[in-house]
């Protein structure tokens, strides 16, 4: 730590010590459970992390242990001994407070490094996978605004750049991101591989301070943290909503927002290279569930094959569909495959009354319909659920006098007048259709209907309703199956995301 604090454009070093009495430190540590705290401390003491998390140790030359007689947490002589200590703590029960105090007043009394704080924060993310709200963006080659498409609805130009798959190099990205950041704020970056998912997580910790020395730590009250996640082999990027960890009140909301915006604007520039410019476009998917976001915006086959189409994307069926397999895909011979629907057979079918038999038949049919519409998605236990879906219905009110034409493409556009936060967003999702361009007076009544589905797994809930017969699975519009993979959208002609109903 230098004694002089000079404003610089450099990033905050990982080795910067933060005083344990800093409220930020206790806030990070207090969020973790006892088990996580101990494993975190053990990780710090691991030889890979040790250089950036050096504990307070006794000088091995110095034998005078009476110096520490009054010390409640006498320092150990080596990291290995400290490791033993924590392993011992791990094996017995105790309070969380005990560990926090040991860390802040004992083994790291001289301060925790920013690196350690970053690890503590990431530990919280792994402990609470749904603690962050992620928004998925797609990285696309930058074009002039005229050909800028929001959801791939507009055709791309036929040139070389339309065939480019954006590359991503973490270290180059970080260096150029740093160049985008103004000198009056400082950031600390920490890359980490997600423990279970194919993701690279970048934690950005922004402090409103021109210094990159200890003087910056006084500004932690107004600090902001947010996460970027880069899925492997997929031109997408997931951004989390920023979180204020400090005590900075609501009054600083605007300011911290601009801090974040600075970074967000820097991301596409940092991804770009000379002669190769990229930009981020929203993909209208926001969820707390990283599994879901990886399923729909990841590297697999399921990105554009949701709902009932997921049967085409399911990797596990690979063997059955191989052209070398002679086995018929149908359950032709008896006993060859007992499906779940058939299993129910035989439980006293003969004892049923006609009404019961009808009911049974209807139930089976509903189940099959649900299977057809949802495929293998939307199951309660699959851990891939969105918790909120916002939709605007822009369809004309069904006319009772004449039958609504199936080919509704010629109906004029709805009036655009009312605009409010989310609707402006929803409007952006919308792509103007050429047919609607002629400014014709809108004769159909188009009520403004906004639907919000809310729950732990929205589409699994709808699937259950279909299976229970509450929702007619055959007449249910496609956007209720979640096959488009968006959590925000406008429905027109019964289809979401542009009027052609396509998910390219």
């Amino acid at each position: 730590m230098s004694r002089l604090s000079i404003p610089t454009t450099a990033r905050l070093p990982s080795t910067l010590h933060v005083d344990p009495s800093n409220p930020t430190v206790s806030k990070y540590l207090n969020r973790l459970s006892r088990q996580s705290l101990i494993s975190l401390a053990l990780e710090w003491l691991d030889e890979n992390h040790l250089p950036l998390a050096i504990p307070y140790l006794r000088d091995p030359e110095d034998d005078s242990s009476q110096d520490y007689e009054n010390d409640f947490y006498p320092p150990e002589s080596s990291p290995e001994a400290l490791q033993e200590e924590y392993l011992f703590l791990q094996s017995r029960k105790g309070s969380k407070r005990e560990i926090i105090e040991r860390i802040t007043q004992g083994d790291w009394r001289h301060g925790l490094t920013l690196y350690q704080l970053a690890m503590a924060d990431l530990q919280y993310l792994y402990d609470h996978p749904t603690s962050q709200k992620w928004t998925a963006y797609r990285i696309v080659p930058l074009k002039l605004p005229s050909s800028d498409d929001l959801d791939g609805e507009q055709q791309q130009e036929v040139d070389k750049t339309s065939l480019v798959v954006p590359p991503f190099h973490p270290s180059v990205f970080l260096r150029s991101l740093q160049e985008q950041i103004m000198p009056d704020i400082k950031a600390h970056y920490n890359f980490d591989r997600h423990k279970t998912l194919p993701l690279l997580i970048l934690r950005i910790f922004i402090v409103d301070s021109p210094y990159n020395s200890a003087a910056a730590t006084t500004g932690f009250d107004s600090s902001k943290t947010f996460f970027l996640a880069f899925p492997d082999a997929s031109p997408h990027i997931y951004l989390s909503k920023p979180q204020a960890i400090g005590t900075g009140g609501a009054g600083q909301g605007g300011e911290s927002k601009s801090l974040r915006n600075l970074i967000v604007e820097g991301i596409p520039k940092a991804l770009s290279r000379p002669q190769q410019r990229f930009t981020l476009v929203s993909t209208a998917l926001t969820t707390r569930n990283l599994n879901e976001i990886l399923e729909r915006r990841g590297d697999g086959r399921s990105n554009y094959a949701g709902g009932g189409w997921s049967i085409y994307a399911d990797e596990r069926k690979g063997v059955k569909e191989s052209p070398l397999s002679t086995v018929l895909p149908l359950p032709s011979p008896p006993l060859s495959e007992i499906t779940e629907i058939e299993k129910g057979k035989g439980d006293g079918v003969f004892l049923m009354t006609d009404a019961e038999r009808m009911e049974e038949k209807r139930r089976k049919r509903a189940k099959m319909v649900a299977q057809a519409r949802f495929g293998d998605t939307g199951k309660i236990g699959d851990g891939k659920g969105v918790e909120r879906v916002d939709l605007v219905l822009e369809d004309a009110f069904p006319d009772v006098r004449k039958d609504e034409d199936e080919e509704g493409d010629v109906t004029p556009r709805p009036k655009t007048g009312r605009k409010s936060g989310i609707e402006a967003d929803l409007d952006r999702m919308d792509v103007d259709d050429e047919e609607g361009d002629h400014s014709e007076v809108d004769k159909n009544w188009r009520p403004y209907v906004r639907l919000t589905f809310h729950g732990s797994h929205v589409f699994a809930g709808i699937r259950q309703l279909v299976e229970a017969g509450v929702v007619d699975g055959e007449k249910m519009p496609g956007w209720m199956t979640g096959e488009e993979g968006v959590t925000m959208g406008a429905v027109r002609n019964g289809r979401i995301r542009g009027h052609k109903g396509s998910g390219l």
């Binding site: 011979p333 109903g501 390219l504």
Partner: protein, 258 residues
């Protein structure tokens, strides 16, 4: 570590799981035998004309023919229906199925499902697909399946080019895997593809040298850089290439074939 004697309950559990594995394997054998029997010409000749088995045999025959086409042609089409009641063109879907072989195995086929959403024109549009995101599908669609009524669509070209891209991608993945097998040893400790398209391969040497190889579309070496302590190490790069220009040849050389 003492081996505890299993309790009766445990033994039963084990037995049940054993039996269940047996059941699954027997079932798959049964279906395999059935299809084999149904496909055999001798079976067909002894089946009476009104037998329901004959229909099944016919289904099996057509399935076999379909599989043959799929195995040989690698691009096949099929028809499907969109279950969405609001779907365009009454839910008619044209499916493209692309079968890819990689490292001696047929992979799960890739599907592209097309529909006809444009009123008054027969132009197709990609509706759903399972092509991985590292294939620039939208760029290819813009090229060969333009939505403009005036422009001509070329589905055959599209399918061909798409299949080529997919096959190239899997070949690159395969080559990187081969390279890893051939190169990793005492000196080189790590070989891995580092970008989405598997066009860039990173090398790590035990002594800290790192390298990056950029592969072209057809597996040719476009660039190779080896860096040691911030300096470019041309010698190692040349050594690794061994005068070859193709990644596959490097694999062959490293594994001692050439």
């Amino acid at each position: 570590m003492e081996e505890s004697t299993p309790t009766p309950a445990q033994t039963l559990e084990d037995e049940i799981s054993d039996l269940q594995t047996k059941l699954t394997s027997l079932k798959s054998q049964l279906s395999l035998q059935t299809s084999t029997l149904l496909s055999a010409p001798s079976t067909r000749s002894i089946l009476p004309p009104q037998s329901p088995l004959l229909t099944q045999s016919n289904t099996q025959q057509s399935h076999n023919l379909q599989s043959l086409y799929r195995a040989c042609a690698s691009i096949t089409t099929f028809r499907a229906r969109d279950p969405d009641p609001n779907s365009v063109d009454n839910g008619s879907i044209l499916g493209l199925r692309i079968d890819v072989v990689s490292r001696t195995k047929f992979l799960r086929p890739y599907y592209v499902l097309l529909n006809r959403p444009y009123p008054g024109s027969k132009h197709l549009r990609i509706h759903r697909h399972t092509v991985p995101p590292c294939i620039p599908l939208s760029g290819l669609a813009a090229r060969y399946l333009p939505s403009d009524k005036e422009k001509k669509q070329d589905l055959v070209r599209f399918a061909k080019v798409l299949r080529r891209e997919v096959t190239r991608y899997h070949h690159r993945l395969g080559v990187v895997a081969d390279l890893r097998e051939a190169a990793v040893g005492e000196e080189i400790v790590e070989v891995s593809a580092v970008d989405a398209e598997a066009k860039q391969v990173s090398f790590e040497w035990a002594d800290g040298r790192i390298g990056r190889l950029v592969m072209g579309d057809d597996g040719e070496v476009e660039k190779l850089v080896v860096v040691v302590e911030g300096e470019r190490d041309r010698e190692t790069g040349r050594e690794l290439l061994g005068g070859k220009v193709d990644v596959q040849e490097i694999v062959r050389r490293l594994s001692g074939g050439l």
